[in-house]
Symmetry: C2
Subunit: 150 residues, 2 copies
């Protein structure tokens, strides 16, 4: 097991994962009646929001619109950045301008030219937890109520 | 992008991931009022059930008991085995016998000697989907209603 990281190092590592190009995030959402959904998706980070691109009728889109939230896992199972996020807004791909440009640059995939109908979902992190193994469970929370604790 | 795998190959790859030692699974569950939870956990596979070991008051335990189901992601975001599973039963760690032995052997961690209070949750897959990238979305379902399609 590696040594436990400092809060500062965990924040730096989380930001590195948020800025990674051509990466995916595990997106957990739930229907109103409590059926969990999980799917890996491309994403971008605009400095404030984690940005997803999905089809309007996809389960993930409908769940996040209804619940107003999602839980997102970045990285591997033993090098996790876990994000509880709330829905900020959605924008149809065709109207997304800078959001779409930023997404295409980071995700290396442009929903505007993918054919089909896509919507961008902007999620604002409220809590971010960063851990690798058991020795990093303590001190794993580096954002609370939307504010970095470090 | 690699070539699309045959259904037989996908099943073989899924079984290899289910039998992997010292591995983790992403577990998505939901509260009754539709708040999704997600966490990586050690697991074992007994040939019929995916076995988790959690503390009784953990959110994952309570969600799965209430909903009777979970969605589980094995592997990486671009080499996924996605499992929709229903709760078969739970067993307190101290009474788990063979289940506990099998878990300890595969997970390389024994909840019985970990201190604290653990319960095993046995989840029976109903649907299993296996894909790497876009070219494998078609044909990704290799188990439906609890039966292998291949």
């Amino acid at each position: 097991m590696e040594e436990s990281r400092s809060p500062e190092q965990r924040k730096a590592d989380a930001l590195a994962k948020l800025h990674a190009t051509h990466a995916d995030v595990w997106v957990a959402s739930s229907s109103a009646d409590g059926v969990a959904h999980l799917v890996p998706l491309s994403f971008a980070w605009d400095g404030e929001h984690l940005v997803l691109a999905t089809e309007p009728d996809a389960l993930t889109t409908r769940n996040i619109l209804a619940a107003g939230r999602a839980r997102l896992g970045l990285g591997g199972t033993r090098d996790v950045v876990m994000i509880d996020a709330v829905l900020a807004r959605t924008v149809p791909a065709a109207d997304a301008g800078d959001v779409a440009d930023g997404y295409a640059a980071q995700a290396d995939w442009d929903p505007r030219s993918a054919g089909g109908d896509f919507v961008f979902t902007l999620l604002r992190p409220e809590r971010i937890q960063v851990w690798r193994e058991v020795n990093e469970i303590a001190g794993r929370t580096i954002m609370r109520r939307g504010r970095w604790t470090v």
